[in-house]
Symmetry: C2
Subunit: 199 residues, 2 copies
């Protein structure tokens, strides 16, 4: 299982934004929708072995975590607007503490914080951070259950880095230039695809 956690530092946790204004009014939700696209889309299929977690930390009802599960995903289209609509629907769900609820097939929402999510995943996953001084992804020996952690347009904060430091992790580098999170995801997928095909 391949996992991605995206830190949406300003992403709105209330559905008070218009689909015409996902960049501004929704706290750069556009970035998160592009990460959904990169996580799942193949040319004529979806990547079924992927889970994506959007940790949304903006607005008045933070935190919320929206989980996209490729194995049961339906109604996902590649464009930003329709994905933002799936996310907005998830934000409208009534939530209780400590319980994840389904919003639409493959889309789940909870009140999990980044810290709770890391704690939950730490038993099964190996965490991987992208850093300019990390090991080249092309030399990296992938774990069985990688979990990549990426920021939106901002790097992880000091508080987030302190949470990340509580668990073992690897750091990898994807190339000589710094890229958007959704572009980084394409590069790690390609390297994993190549390894899998070469097995």
């Amino acid at each position: 299982m391949i996992r991605f956690i995206i830190l949406g530092h300003r992403a709105h946790t209330t559905a008070d934004f218009k689909l015409e204004d996902i960049c501004g009014g929704a706290g750069r939700l556009d970035i998160l929708t592009r990460c959904v696209n990169s996580a799942f889309f193949l040319s004529h299929d979806l990547r079924r072995d992927v889970q994506l977690y959007l940790v949304m930390m903006g607005g008045d009802d933070a935190p919320k975590t929206i989980r996209f599960d490729g194995s049961v995903m339906k109604y996902l289209n590649p464009d930003e607007r329709s994905t933002a609509s799936l996310i907005r629907n998830a934000l409208l769900k009534k939530l209780e503490p400590d319980r994840e609820v389904i919003s639409s097939p493959g889309v789940f929402v909870s009140r999990k914080s980044f810290e709770q999510l890391m704690d939950e995943l730490s038993e099964e996953c190996r965490f991987i951070y992208l850093r300019e001084n990390g090991e080249d992804v092309r030399e990296y020996e992938f774990p069985e259950n990688p979990c990549y952690i990426l920021g939106d347009d901002r790097d992880p904060t000091e508080e987030e880095e302190a949470i990340m430091a509580k668990y073992p992790y690897d750091t990898i580098c994807l190339g000589p230039v710094s890229l958007h999170a959704n572009h980084c995801m394409i590069l790690v997928h390609n390297e994993m695809d190549r390894r899998k095909a070469g097995e």
Copy 2:
């Protein structure tokens, strides 16, 4: 100079679509906007050495070619909607035969067909097609002025392949799974970035 030609088989050539409906009413313009994003965006900069050509072949005023020039680009944002707006503005421009006009800084529009564009670029560029049976991009010796040709969600038609066959070209393969055009662009950029850094 790095060039990409994207074949927008149904992309509307009249500005008769709403920005809320770029997937349907605009003939899968969403795909083309994602290609613009992949062509130009770095983490905190634009790729200035890139030219992207959107060959738009749908609707009542086809063909039109919209050229994005990284060296003089302004007002480009990474989201689909704002890029669709730049494209719609370009489609509103009054055009004469055989003359390219500026729509906004870095965005130019003309009545060029795919055939005319190939003919114009053939002197300076080496054309490159992506094929599953092509040479692995990681082994490929890049030309000085590569020009990648990609389809939208449809492969090139027989007529387009006949045009492409008129000029010398290379074929490369990016990995074991078939990907969307905008994802392919990220992979070729990464390989070129690595080569350039290793020079």
